[in-house]
């Protein structure tokens, strides 16, 4: 599988409240509505400029703070299939896997806003090619259970298929 998309660059410590404000999820859990508020506090122009297929590229500790899962589903709702970051907060990482949003831990320093990326998925992880610069970096491999959940499309289809966790 290959995913091609445009890099949308963010910094370090992007917390889940910055992804989608806690106050917004009071009104609806419908991501087709909530996506217009994506990153509204820190990047007010983002929601209007995001295109389906865009890729979030961030620094360290992406998704820190609240464990609210809506932060991953709103990103998916905006048509963003994967998030690349130097490191992730553990709750965001879990929630991403559980919803089929692909989290790729890799060196993102050489990627700039708007550059074209091509991500190829191999047996254990991802290979990220910056088409603009020609540079390729490897994503950290995922443990087996995470790969199983992600390849099932998330925890809902995984549990529906298996009836529980496979040990």
């Amino acid at each position: 599988m290959t995913i091609d998309g445009r890099a949308r660059k963010f910094g370090d410590h992007v917390n889940t409240d910055y992804i989608i404000s806690s106050t917004r999820k009071r009104d609806t859990l419908d991501v087709s509505v909530l996506k217009q508020y994506l990153f509204e506090s820190t990047h007010p122009a983002f929601a209007a400029s995001v295109r389906p297929g865009d890729l979030i590229v961030a620094g360290r500790n992406f998704g820190c703070g609240s464990a609210m899962e809506i932060a991953t589903t709103v990103i998916l709702g905006a048509g963003i299939p994967a998030v690349l970051a130097e490191s992730f907060s553990r709750t965001f990482f879990r929630n991403a896997i559980n919803n089929g949003l692909i989290p790729i831990e890799c060196d993102t320093k050489g990627i700039a806003e708007g550059q074209a990326l091509s991500i190829e998925f191999i047996a254990t992880g991802a290979s990220v090619k910056n088409v603009t610069t020609g540079r390729t970096v490897a994503g950290a491999p995922l443990p087996g259970i995470m790969l199983s959940i992600l390849s099932a499309g998330g925890l809902v289809p995984y549990i529906r298929a298996n009836g529980g966790f496979q040990t």
Partner: protein, 419 residues
């Protein structure tokens, strides 16, 4: 390398997965308590139904709290509550009412979680429960749905960061100051994916309520869980709350920790976390004088009885009035906290001084209910997060500090050293 000594996390997760487990292993564990809130359970209920769920593993081990929208102020939040109540009724799950309090505060004070337990909660501050010598971690709504259905969760066994507390506590040093000093030193992701064990000879100088502040702020360093060993303080707290039959869990003496940090209490002093990150921690002296328009005393960090007693004492000492132009909002962490503060007259005194007392729950912490700061306001709060827009207004600036420092700011209208 052969490893024999085991950490508290390794011991608890070994028991819960039925095999020896060490840091780095991925294990499927049986859970003892599953917690959902009005902010996370509605999505989990959708997922539970999509998973094909028709029964829950054990309704007595699941609890829902209506704490984030407390009380619901809109038709849509009211509808979320009704959805949680209906699911609870259908499957025999207890649903705490509006005003009963914050989920992780209530399970601790009612003895619903006990030493050695594995607790998962769809609220990142579920880690707070670890002060009772257990493994508690925050999860999202998918994991909540699967845990309700199967009674299980997969976990990577964390490495452990040991924090040793030594020395004697100077007058005016709060648990929040100690915790903020630690967050400042370790950083916002310095304990990422790790467990934090709080230990050391100085731990005995902190009450159970104060230890809950230590474990609460662990997640602000990225930690997966945090815990405290059992001593007479824990045993005294558990008496009359938790049913007997629990066993203390201690780290072995030959454990190799991923990292060790020692905090010498005599070298610490009041702290403030500056906007907009909990790890931007300064000595309070460096922030003194900053004008303040709103003060929030509450939350799962700073809304317990001793916090509000401290705030009341400081306010009394600093003139007994909330300063003109300052709004002081006090939100007890639970109905039990509120009842005790009503019974001893504290809430009446605070009201007379100009405070607004609001419904127990998460309150103004994350902008989901209660008072929202106005444009450009400076807020000082006993909470744990000060991200931009956290309290519902992106133009407000939030400072985090101890209940004493917050009360001193309420009395003076500016950041003030409470000593």
């Amino acid at each position: 390398m052969t490893r024999t000594g085991r950490t508290i996390s390794e011991k608890i997760l070994s028991t819960k997965c039925g095999q020896p487990a060490f840091a780095g292993d991925i294990v499927v564990c049986n859970v003892d308590m599953v917690i959902g809130t009005d902010a996370s359970a509605p999505m989990a209920i959708d997922y539970f139904e999509q998973m094909g769920g028709t029964s829950v593993f054990d309704p007595s081990k699941i609890l829902f709290a209506l704490d984030h929208y407390s009380p619901p102020e809109t038709n849509s939040t009211r509808a979320l509550h009704e959805r949680v109540r209906a699911f609870g009724e259908r499957y025999g799950i207890e649903v705490l009412n509006v005003g009963d309090g914050i989920s992780h505060q209530v399970v601790v004070e009612r003895g619903r979680v006990r030493p050695g337990d594995l607790v998962v909660g769809a609220d990142s501050h579920t880690v707070t429960c670890g002060a009772l010598n257990l493994f508690a971690t925050g999860i999202g709504s998918s994991d909540l749905a699967a845990a309700m259905m199967t009674g299980q969760i997969w976990l990577k066994v964390p490495e452990t960061l040991r924090v040793t507390l030594t020395g004697w506590r100077p007058r005016g040093l709060s648990a929040k100051d100690v915790a903020l000093a630690l967050v400042g030193e370790v950083g916002a992701e310095g304990a990422s994916y790790q467990a934090i064990e709080f230990e050391g000879p100085a731990l005995a100088q902190f009450s159970l309520e104060e230890r809950l502040v230590f474990t609460n702020l662990a997640v602000e360093m990225g930690a997966k869980t945090a815990m405290v060993p059992i001593d007479s303080v824990t045993e005294e707290y558990l008496k009359g709350r938790a049913s007997p039959g629990w066993e203390p869990v201690e780290s072995d003496s030959d454990v190799e920790y991923a990292r060790e940090v020692t905090l010498t209490l005599g070298e610490l002093s009041p702290r403030v976390a500056m906007p907009h990150s909990p790890d931007k921690v300064l000595l309070i002296e460096e922030a003194v004088g900053q004008p303040i328009q709103m003060v929030f005393i509450g939350t799962c960090t700073g809304g317990r009885v001793s916090d509000i007693h401290t705030a009341l004492a400081v306010l009394s000492r600093w003139g007994g009035r909330v300063a003109r132009g300052v709004q002081l909002v006090v939100t007890p962490a639970s109905a039990d906290v509120r009842a005790r503060l009503e019974a001893d007259g504290s809430l009446a005194k605070l009201t007379a001084m100009g405070a607004v007392i609001t419904t127990p729950g998460c309150g103004a912490c994350c902008g989901t209910s209660g008072v929202i700061p106005g444009d450009g306001m400076n807020v000082i709060s006993t909470a744990n997060r000060n991200f931009k827009a956290r309290m519902g207004n992106a133009t407000a600036s939030i400072y985090l500090a101890s209940p004493a420092a917050c009360a001193a700011a309420a009395a003076t209208g500016k950041i003030t050293d409470p000593r």
